[in-house]
Amino acid sequence: MKVKLREIVPFDKEAEEKAIQKDHGLHPDDKYLKPGRIPHIWCPGCGLGVVLTSFIEGMRRKGLSVDQCAVVSGIGCTGRVAGYLDMDTYHTTHGRAIPFATGLALAKPDLHVTVFSGDGDLFAIGGNHMIHAARRNVNLKVLCVNNFNFGMTGGQVAPTTPLEARTSTTPLGNAEPGFNLPYLAHAAGAIYVARWTTFHPRQLVHSISESLGKKGFTFIEAIAPCPTGYGRPNKLGSGLEEMRYYREMSQIRNGADLRDTEIRLREKIIVGTFINTDRPDFMENYMGKVVARARAKGKGKEKGKAA
């Protein structure tokens, strides 16, 4: 094999940062992103950069350092986020971000665990995990980037693709209606539900930082342009034109009735913070209702302590 071994140099973060500064100047997000991993792979006009920046900004606003947070992602364009963030991240198999994150959140209750994944990953192949984690009210922050299709594999129909929308597997239009994600998340038991588009980065940042302060299962849908996969067959134009489309179509209605938030092609999109409530999370119920009772009977031991 004619593969030359690359010289192995111990990683020097300071030198790397200086090199980045020299080439590009200092970016405020540099300390959140893995040096050397940027530029990312996302297409021009994609909304994922906006959502990633909003997430970092939300963390910063909440005063969270990279050591206090973990990000779990699934497969797809959004799944690549795990590789770009300079923190403990895990890129799971397709659809399994939530079960992995559940394990993480239960083992380390103080960690802020965010599931950062796409609509195809969270609601098609991983849909079952999503509703059960919401029902249990596991302390997870789900940030779902919705671009209405399976972008990474070439723009196939997804469970979020609106009725009649065209994709590479529905060339004459989709015969199935898409999920109304906020309604579904609320029905399954999420304590915080919001939806914004990438045209609303300020509101998105606010929602992200707000959700990071909640204890329980939160769900934020971030609608993002996908000019390559979804925009092209539906004649939504370039990334910029798709942003204009979201500006015109979006209607901010905080606390809206979630029965009205279904998305249809070329119809208004209701955005806002819809649900902000509280109920005991899984850990609280488990410790309070199961462990406490077992202890009262003299059973069960605390981990790490001698019997």
Binding site: T93, G95, I125, M152, T170
Partner: protein, 387 residues
């Protein structure tokens, strides 16, 4: 005779599925398989193919849909790769055990982790004991022809088993090749309508997928094994009939300059074409080297293989997957086991090559053969690995 066109292999395969007039296609997007189902969805949408296209929510559901549609007597097709097949695996075993005819286009891709979208055979080796008929293809024309052959074999009442067509991801799925098309008359003459042995129908009630108590489980497994191993004549007959129609003759095992060869390269899939160049090179250097290409992986053509391998002094198996912790890589293991009781048996060397999409050139094949012939330990080697 149909016309010859330059076309992407995936698209040609989808065209072939369309010509077979399938009734149900159920699949989930996964690289590098997507072009097949994308083109099928176009054929369905444009009205060229009268079929149900089910855009399911996962591969587990895709295979489940296929089982359902096959059980009611619909001609069924699906396509997947690596992680998709892994998620399907539960139902993959059920499809074959329940003797449900269907065809799967498997674009071979490496299994995660690390996450890889590139080609090797680790996915198909994972389900090699699942009781499906598994065929490998070397080039685009073989893939195209295999679609018709697979439907014919799968739905034959004497077989009634699902067929998996292994197509090397990217190396084969995404290349544009000159492919000779079939026309409708040829397909009509070659592929009879699907008449299942038994199907779910309200007029004649039956239960499928019932519980197998210990009293019956072993018998069922034996019956499945007998069905699979005795499908070979139907498979061969399918290829014979195809030769009459197209002039292209396929067989379970094929050779290239192997008649008098002391050393045989043993390979499956698109690496065979690379290996033929290597064989020519080594023949020019005066070395006695030939190639054995295995098309039919399940059921394994044991008689043919024993006869072929016994003539050689050395056999160099180019394995495209690893069996971690095992005595050897899957294909080598089987070849060694096959030759164990033979009075005259060659030394069988194992070269694990091209895993996770690592490129294998003809020069690499030459080097592997030289390495294998000079080795003393007869252990498996991962060719070209660093560190």
């Amino acid at each position: 005779m149909g016309k010859k066109v330059g076309i992407e292999v995936s698209i040609a395969a989808a065209e072939a599925v369309g010509l077979c007039d399938v009734d149900v296609v159920a699949a989930y997007p996964i690289t590098p398989q997507t072009h097949v189902v994308e083109h099928l969805s176009e054929l369905v949408a444009s009205g060229d193919l009268d079929a149900e296209f089910v855009p399911v929510e996962s591969e587990h559901s895709a295979m489940s849909v296929c089982c359902g549609s096959s059980a009611v007597g619909a001609r069924t097709f699906t396509a997947t790769a690596a992680q998709g097949l892994a998620l399907m695996a539960e139902i993959v075993y059920i499809a074959s055990s329940m003797r449900l005819p269907m065809v799967m286009f498997l674009s071979n891709r490496a299994l995660s982790a690390p996450l890889s979208i590139w080609n090797d055979h680790s996915d198909t080796m994972m389900v090699r004991d699942s009781g499906w008929i598994q065929v490998f293809c070397e080039n685009g024309q073989e893939v195209y022809d295999a679609i018709f052959h697979s439907f014919r074999v799968s739905e034959d009442p004497k077989v009634s088993l699902p067929v998996m067509i292994n197509v090397d991801g990217f190396n084969l799925t995404h290349v544009i090749e000159p492919i000779e098309f079939w026309d409708k008359e040829m397909v009509k003459a070659y592929l009879p309508p699907f008449r299942p042995l038994s199907k779910l129908h309200p007029d004649k009630v039956l239960s499928m997928g019932a519980f197998g108590m210990p009293e019956i489980y072993a018998e069922q497994k034996q019956a499945h094994d007998v069905a699979l191993t005795s499908s070979t004549p139907v498979i061969l007959q399918g290829w014979d009939e195809m030769a009459k129609l197209t002039g292209r003759k396929y067989s379970a095992v094929e050779t290239y300059r192997a008649e008098d060869a002391e050393t045989l390269i043993f390979a499956m899939g698109s690496i065979c074409e690379t290996s033929t160049i290597a064989v020519d090179k080594m023949r020019e250097q005066g070395k006695s080297v030939g190639l054995v290409k295995l098309r039919l992986w399940r059921p394994l053509p044991m008689g043919d293989l024993r006869k072929l391998l016994a003539k050689a002094k050395d056999v160099v198996v180019l394995d495209r997957s690893i069996a971690l912790g095992a005595a050897n890589a899957p294909v080598t293991s089987e070849m060694r086991a096959l030759m164990y009781h033979e009075p005259q048996r060659p030394k069988i060397h194992c070269m694990i090559a091209g895993i996770g999409g690592r490129d294998v050139t003809p020069d690499d094949v030459v080097k592997m053969v030289n390495m294998a012939l000079s080795e003393k330990d007869y252990e498996y080697h991962i060719y070209g690995v660093r560190g």
